[in-house]
Amino acid sequence: MIILTGNDLKSGAVVWWAGVDWSLHVAEAVDVGDQAASIAAREEAARRVNAPYSIDALRDENGVRPAHIKDRIRALGPTVRPDLTLKPADPEAGNWVI
């Protein structure tokens, strides 16, 4: 699948296109197919996102997994600070990145 990501303009937070709005959780990302460029242009023009780009990802029983490690780290947070990730209570969360 192809998913769309970027950063929230004001907070800088990593966000994922979830169909009607942006989500902090990659699990909610939807397949944008060949619509990536048009959604990105529209959302960027509306200042709902900054520097959007599309990436390859896989959907499996554990949810949506970006193909590249860089985007998996963006999705979770720094692997060296589990307390600052989106899953601070899950010590195994970092394994998802590798």
Binding site: N7, L9, K10, S11, G12, A13, V14, E44, R47, N50, A51, A67, H68, I69, K70, I73, R74, G77, P78, T79, V80, R81, L84
Partner: protein, 546 residues
Amino acid sequence: MYQYDRFDQAMVDARVEEFRDQCQRRIEGKLTEDQFKPLRLMNGLYLQLHAYMLRVAIPYGTLSGPQMRALGDIADRFDRKYGHFTTRQNIQYNWIKLEEAPDILAALAKVEMHAIQTSGNCIRNISSDHFAGAAADEVTDPRPYAELLRQWSSFHPEFSYLPRKFKFAVIASETDRAAMRLHDIGINIVRGHNGDLGAAVYVGGGMGRTPMIAPLIRDFVPLDQLVTYAEACLRVYNRYGRRDNKYKARIKILVHELGAEEYTRQVEAEFAHLLAQNIEPPIAELERIKAHFAQPAFMPGDVETSQPDVGDGKFAVWVDRNTHPHKQSGYASAVISLKPVGGIPGDATSDQMRLMAALGEQYSFNELRVTHTQNIVLPHVRKADLFALWQQLEAAGLGTANLDQVGDIIACPGLDYCSLANARSIPVAQRISERFAANGKGDTLGELKLKISGCINACGHHHAGHIGILGVDRKGVENYQLLLGGSEAQDTSLGKITGPGFSEDGIIDAVETAADVYLRERQDGERFLDTYRRIGMDPFKEALYG
């Protein structure tokens, strides 16, 4: 240390308001990201992997107690209670909101700090010896000259759009503690034959994708012509440095392609031309700056104080490893390691920053330094106070005694934070420091400088590590190249790649294997680097690849 005059303050305050307006216009949609990006970068604001990142300049690494405290307070108010001290002697905040960035700059301006020229193709923060003004071996305090160059280069209209970024280092001792020859311009202040001070000028060094050691292009520039000479060096670069290819745009490529001799000839011609224009700042300005760096009121006649016996010898080890000889008898420079076993190199919490601020005020004449090795220095500590200082550091987890040891690792933020990264640096540093603490070998290795970069940009100085590690991307999987034999000290050398790269697990084992070869082969008094230089790469390759 230097204090702003009304011109400095007015400039910085005006810049805060200008940036506030620019941020507001971006948020309101009056500026596109393409228009805004160069403006935010001029104020040190990057968009990184997880959020905006703000890089704050710490000129030549010198900070007062209130400035360090303000950095801690900013981490609390605007970030996630920590900051990262960098190899450029700066600090970076990782979780900045665009809408709050102007308020952070305003908070910085209150303590005479800013983020100007911490990004972009301009002259960046000028680095220096972290023991400047204190080191027993310096010929003078290099910081007044670094400050003069800082003032000359701040908003210099001719050098705001150079072909690429540009970095100076200024030192004043034979021992190089600032990687001087790995800068675009390295200046070493030396004493000439007639007893006068002057600058030996090295141009065209750097790390990154094409590492080069800067050649000496002039062995003595009178200090009252230093700015003019620097201007001449920059002018030749600005005129002929390549702008068509960003990978060939640094001055090191120009000096290399022209040859040091031809580059020097052009600089000398420009220098002669500029001398006639009389652009050098008046001596009175240098004297005004120097007055800010007057020697603190050291206590006269202070005697050497013996170390108290605390039983387990930890304090004695810390004194041995983490203090440095001071020019004033009875004093020492104390290094606070930001590298606890398994910790994140260079990170400090807001509480730790405030504690270090207080300790700087109490024990070091209100002065602290950031080292390019991502530690903090209290430059002027009475030896009689070292024990009390160490006890407070120990209690706060800041008493690690590992300066220049295998655990004192330089690591860039790498793929955990940096959008340019190929691989993570920090976990590798953590695992190596844990490995050598657990197996006890760390204490037997002596000086071993290990440096890790997450990509070829080499912010982690991997080319200059006795052992260097470079993270690369091998088909989407992190992979690590091992380098041996680099040095950023006065015996500057560039490390050589051992051979094929390693996985994350493999690189930890590989570093231990290289250390084992050293332990097996070393002769009396040899550091890892000395042994490597004597026996060469082959025994290491043999052990690593069989």
